[in-house]
């Protein structure tokens, strides 16, 4: 069994007035781990269900291994799926649950036993085979659902937030297990989550959805280093990127809302040439918390007041107020900062991102990220 590719072209799903999926296009390459990421209600599950054939599309196409399957029923698509709720049959024991599909498809008994042994062994379910789903833990249920998907030996596996019901520790373990399993079997995985940390740690490629549309589809690294919209910048990273509204002034660009008072506080924080716009429209300057640093005396920077300090061990998360905006900086723990202390923050020029204040699009072009993509294992 090895993966096949999925291509989604301008897929649409409407329920009356609601547009759940709005011309979504992306490709999940064969053997790759693709994550659909986005906030609640953005259409992730609907997109996945359209790929699975559990919902009928209002428009667009789904191609699996190059064949148009848009109007095929789920079992004509060669897919396996793990549901968020696991969807285990409560009256069947673990073994019967795992074997359900094979029995339906009349796979020979000896073959069934052979595959069950292998899959149960792989997922550590062997001692639980005779228990009912209600008699095993959440993590074990999750593994049973996974086993049911894997034993089918389908080239594609779809998962809808499979880890959301687990506690933090188990979730972390399962993330690694899932990723390892997907690699070992060479499955094409499409995985839905609203947890950006989960997406970053597992994906080969992340498709960020927002209100039914694709915001950006990229490798995790590219997504983090070069978000193509303010939405993605805000969504990815913990804590997320700081977005500072800036406005053009006499000698460059200043933080918006600073001019009142007109003292030395504030003033230009960027010279005119560093912002890639010609006119005076509002612009968002983005800087990640870890790229902010305390400015040395005499160097340019943005004036701020410490509001609170959150101790994280290796470093501190410092919330600072500048004019009417709050910035978060991840600063080394050596500097002891007190609430109310005045500070000046600076950042390297390569760490700044600019977004259109109106549309939220990135200002220096949406082209592919200049960072070399990490090679797939």
């Amino acid at each position: 069994m090895s993966g096949v590719s999925i291509e989604v072209r301008a897929l649409e799903k409407r329920w009356g007035e609601t547009v759940a999926v709005d011309r979504v296009s992306f490709t999940a390459e064969a053997g790759a781990f693709t994550v659909l990421l986005g906030p609640s209600g953005c259409g992730k599950s609907t997109t996945l269900r359209l790929v699975a054939g559990l919902e009928s599309a209002s428009g667009g196409q789904v191609l699996i291994d190059g064949r148009d399957v848009t109007h095929r029923p789920p079992n004509g698509r060669d897919i396996a799926m793990v549901f968020q709720s696991y969807a285990l049959f409560p009256h069947l024991n673990v073994a019967e649950n795992i074997l359900f599909g094979l029995k339906v498809r009349r796979v020979a008994k000896a073959e069934r036993a052979r595959r069950l042994d292998r899959v149960a062994e792989m997922l550590g379910l062997t001692p639980l085979l005779h228990r009912k789903p209600s008699q095993i833990s959440g993590g074990q249920q999750q593994r049973t659902a996974l086993a049911r998907a894997i034993i089918a030996e389908k080239p594609i596996c779809l998962m809808d937030e499979p880890l959301s019901n687990l506690d933090a520790k188990l979730r972390h373990e399962m993330r690694n297990e899932l990723r390892a399993l997907q690699r070992a079997l060479g499955l094409t995985m499409v995985y839905v989550t609203h947890d950006q940390a989960e997406a970053l740690s597992m994906a080969d490629r992340i498709v960020v959805l927002n209100q039914g549309r694709v915001e950006q589809a990229d490798a995790p690294r590219a997504l983090y280093d070069r978000p193509t919209s303010a939405f993605v910048a805000r969504f990815i990273g913990t804590p997320p990127m700081n977005l500072i509204e800036i406005a053009r002034c006499e000698d460059g660009w200043r933080a918006a809302g600073v001019e009142n008072g007109g003292t030395s506080r504030g003033g230009a924080i960027l010279d005119r040439a560093s912002v890639p716009v010609a006119d005076a429209r509002p612009v968002l300057l983005g800087v990640r918390p870890e790229d902010l640093a305390l400015a040395d005396a005499g160097t340019p920077g943005i004036e701020a007041t410490v509001e609170s300090v959150e101790y994280l061990g290796a470093d501190n998360l410092v919330s600072c107020r500048t004019a009417d905006q709050v910035l978060t900086a991840r600063l080394p723990h050596r500097r002891r900062l007190q609430a109310g202390a005045p500070i000046r923050l600076t950042w390297p020029a390569r760490a700044q991102h600019f977004f259109d204040g109106g549309s939220g699009r990135r200002l220096d072009g949406d082209g592919p990220a200049p960072i070399p993509a990490i090679s797939k294992a």
């Binding site: 699975a52 559990l54 029923p73 789920p74 079992n75 897919i79 396996a80 799926m81 549901f83 709720s85 969807a87 049959f89 409560p90 009256h91 359900f100 599909g101 339906v104 498809r105 009912k132 209600s134 049911r148 089918a152």
Partner: protein, 291 residues
């Protein structure tokens, strides 16, 4: 001291309910059992102890055997058929159906109607010549049939009424059970390529088993308990061909005024019902999955 007072209070609070329960349930039940060992008092002649004479009479009472057979057949047909119909209707109404609120209500209507009213409606259906059934048959050149007057047909005719009445009632229970089955199970099965029938046989039906147990016990009890339509439609006739156990007890007690024999019949019916209910529980319970 206070404990004692609490204890007295407790009993005082229970007394009204206990008195009613004893007066109207337990005492008559025990009295019935006792009566079944006595003769029926007539005029100046008081009841005398006759031992098992009433039971011996019962064993040789051809009418009793006829009625028992009727009732057994009645239960064996009406219970499975009304349960199967109830499941079928519930599956249909549970699906994506336009105007299913209306359909649901339509199915439930027979249950809301008193059985007497139901029986009256069916009397009209069955009337020879003018009845709905005969009128429809006439369109296809069918002859008149006296549905309720023919000993071969009469039991079937009353069974149809019972099924018509019970299926809608049972459907409500099945509908509730179906709606508690998560839709993701159907989707998971669809992805595995299970047909609708396979899904029903392997998943839906087993998950409905607790409901089936509940419904079937109720159905057995109803098969003995609900005889209102016999009163209205046939009065057990012709020649006891549509008489059921409870109706026979009624006739014995309040038409023939043979209270002792009626008591004997009652005891036997109760015994049969208890054995059936317990047996059902043990037989089905082992195969039921409770969530």
């Amino acid at each position: 001291m206070t404990r004692r007072i609490e204890w007295i209070h407790g009993w005082l609070l229970l007394t009204p309910a206990l008195v009613l329960l004893f007066a109207f349930t337990h005492v008559p039940a025990v009295k019935t059992i006792i009566d079944s060992f006595f003769s029926t008092p007539r005029g100046a002649r008081p009841a005398t102890f006759v031992g098992t004479a009433n039971y011996e009479f019962l064993l040789n009472d051809a009418t009793f055997w006829r009625v028992l057979e009727n009732n057994a057949l009645y239960a064996l047909v009406t219970i499975p058929v009304s349960i199967a119909l109830a499941i079928a209707m519930a599956l249909w109404v549970d699906g994506k159906l336009k105007g299913r609120g209306f359909v649901r209500m339509a199915y439930f209507a027979p249950t809301v109607l008193p059985l007497i009213a139901t029986a009256n409606i069916w009397m009209f259906f069955y009337t020879p010549g003018f009845g709905l059934i005969d009128q429809v048959r006439a369109l296809f050149g069918g002859a008149q049939v006296n549905w309720l007057g023919d000993p071969q047909l009469v039991l079937g005719a009353v069974m149809v009424v019972a099924i018509w009445k019970e299926a809608g009632f049972f459907m409500i229970f099945y509908l509730a059970a179906l709606q508690s089955i998560p839709p993701s199970l159907r989707e998971a099965a669809a992805i595995e390529g299970a047909s609708r029938w396979t899904f029903f046989r392997r998943v839906t039906f087993p998950l409905l088993m607790p409901t089936t147990l509940f419904v079937s016990i109720n159905a057995v009890i109803n098969a003995v308990r609900l005889v209102d339509h016999i009163f209205v439609m046939t009065e057990g006739g012709p020649d006891n061909h549509s008489s059921l156990l409870l109706y026979y007890i009624y006739e014995t007690a309040f038409k023939f005024w043979d209270t002792a024999y009626a008591s004997t019949l009652t005891v036997v019916v109760l015994a049969i019902l208890s054995v059936l209910a317990i047996g059902q529980f043990h037989l089905i319970d082992r195969r039921v999955h409770y969530r």
